[in-house]
Amino acid sequence: MDFKLSALTKSIWVFHVSAGSCNNCDIEILDLLTPRHDVERFGIQLVGSVRHADALLITGAMNKKAVVRMKKIYEQAPKPCVVVAVGQCALSRHLFRYSYNVEEPLDKILPVDLYIPGCPPKPEAMIDGIVKLVNKLKSKK
C-alpha cells in the first residue's frame, strides 16, 4: 500500500477544469509548466483526459451550468483522485457570491482536499500547496 502511495506522490497527473473562471487562474496554472517553475521536476504533468488524472485543479466560481459538468467530471475520474480548489473564486465565490447563478461554493459540491487562495494565486503558492498536500497524504498513509 505504502509503495503505491509513494509512487502516487511522485507522479501526480493533473486535469485542469475551469468552472467559469476569469482565465487568470488558468494562466497562472500554465505558468507552472514553464521553464521558471517547471513542475515536471516533481513528476507533475498536465493531462488531456480526466481518465488519466490524479488531481483535479478547479478554478472559477461554479456557476449553475458548470456545477452539473463538474460533478460528471469528478465521477469520471479514476479514484484515488484529489480535488484542488485554485483561486479565491473556487474557494468562496469571491466577488460573485451574490450573483444570481452562483449558488454554492465548491466545497459544498465536491470533497476538496486542498485550497489555494489568491486572486490569482502565485505559481509559488500552488507549488507550496502541492507540497503540503503530498505531506498530508504521506502522514495519513
Binding site: L8, K10, S11, P35, E40, R41
Partner: protein, 304 residues
C-alpha cells in the same frame, strides 16, 4: 523450453526491454526538458508513473469490456516477441530462423492495431477520431518503411533473416555507408517517428485537440500497459534500425552508443517540428519518403 521462457520473460524479452524502454522514455523527457531550458524529471519518473497507474482504479466502458481490456495485452505480447527476436539476434546472429525479418515487420504493426481496437471498443467519439487517424497513419508510413527495408533485403542478396543481413554487414560494412542504405535509413527514421507516435506525426494522440485521442478512455492498468507499449517501442524500433543499417560492429558498447545516438536524433526531430495534420502527413509520406525509398530500392538493385 525453460530457456525460451527465460528469453521471453526476462532477458532480451519483457523485463529487460521494459526497463530499457522506460529509461529511454526518461531520456526523451529529460532531453526535451533541457532543450526547453527546464530541469526535467528524475530518472525513475517513468517507473513511478507505471507503478502509480497500477494502483489506480480501472474504469471500463459499459460495452465491449473484453476487447477494451484485451487490446493492450495483445499489443504488449507481440512487442515482447519482437524484443526477444531482436535481442537474440544481436547476441548470437546465427540462431535466427529464416523469415524472422518478415515476422518482426508483421508483429510491429500489431501495437498500432491494438490501439485502434481499444479506442474503438471504448465508444468515445474523440477516441474514434484518434483511431481513424491512427489507421490512416499506418497506411501512410507502412509503404515507405517496407520499401526501405526491401532496399536492405536486396542489398544483402535477398536475405529475409536478420542473421544473414548482419553477416553481410560484418563482411561488407554497415548498410548506412552505401547510397541506397543511407537513403533507406533516412526514410525509416521518419517512419519510426510516426510508428512511435511522436511529433510531427502524433495526430492520433494530439493532447491539445482530441485530449489523448485513442487513449482517452483508458485508466489504471490498461493505460499502464499502453505506456509500457510506448516504452518498448522506444527500445525495439531503434534496435531494429541498428540491426538493419548499423550492424557491422555489434559489441555491447557500440550497440549502446548507436542506440543513444539514434534516440537523440529521434528526440531532436520530435522537439524541432510542429504537428502535421493527418492529410498533410499522408501526403508527406506518400510523396517524398516513398519516392526516396523507391530510389533506394533501385540503387540497391544496382549494388550501390
Amino acid at each position: 523450453m525453460l530457456n525460451i521462457i527465460f528469453n521471453y520473460l526476462i532477458f532480451p524479452g519483457f523485463l529487460f526491454s521494459v526497463c530499457i524502454g522506460l529509461i529511454a522514455g526518461w531520456f526523451d523527457r529529460k532531453v526535451t526538458a533541457r532543450l526547453q531550458w527546464r530541469k526535467g524529471p528524475p530518472w525513475y519518473q517513468n517507473f513511478a508513473d507505471i507503478l502509480k497507474l497500477l494502483g489506480k482504479e480501472t474504469i471500463l466502458p459499459s460495452s465491449a469490456k473484453l476487447t477494451f481490456l484485451l487490446a493492450p495485452c495483445l499489443g504488449l505480447a507481440s512487442l515482447v516477441l519482437v524484443a526477444t527476436i531482436l535481442g537474440r539476434n544481436i547476441i548470437s546472429p546465427s540462431q535466427g530462423f529464416s523469415g524472422d525479418l518478415v515476422v518482426v515487420l508483421y508483429l510491429l504493426v500489431i501495437p498500432a492495431i491494438s490501439l485502434i481496437l481499444g479506442a474503438s471498443a471504448s465508444r468515445n467519439p474523440l477516441a474514434s477520431v484518434g483511431a481513424s487517424r491512427e489507421m490512416k497513419l499506418i497506411l501512410a508510413y507502412e509503404l515507405p518503411f517496407i520499401l526501405s527495408i526491401i532496399a536492405i533485403i536486396i542489398k544483402s542478396g535477398g536475405a529475409i533473416q536478420f542473421g544473414t543481413i548482419l553477416n553481410h554487414q560484418a563482411l561488407f560494412g554497415s548498410n548506412i555507408f552505401s547510397w541506397s542504405g543511407l537513403i533507406a535509413f533516412l526514410v525509416s527514421v521518419l517512419c519510426i517517428q510516426a510508428k512511435l507516435g511522436f511529433v510531427p506525426f502524433d495526430v492520433s494522440e494530439a493532447e491539445q485537440e482530441i485530449m489523448g485521442g485513442v487513449l482517452i478512455e483508458y485508466s489504471g492498468l490498461p493505460l499502464a500497459i499502453f505506456k509500457l507499449i510506448k516504452a518498448m517501442l522506444l527500445y525495439t524500433l531503434p534496435v531494429l534500425l541498428i540491426i538493419l543499417f548499423l550492424g557491422q560492429n555489434l559489441t555491447m558498447l557500440s550497440v549502446i552508443g548507436k542506440f543513444i545516438a539514434l534516440l537523440i536524433v529521434i528526440i531532436l526531430i520530435k522537439n524541432t517540428s510542429p504537428r502535421l495534420r493527418i492529410d498533410q502527413s499522408l501526403r508527406f509520406f506518400w510523396r517524398i519518403p516513398t519516392l526516396l525509398a523507391i530510389l533506394a530500392v533501385i540503387l540497391g538493385y544496382f549494388g550501390l
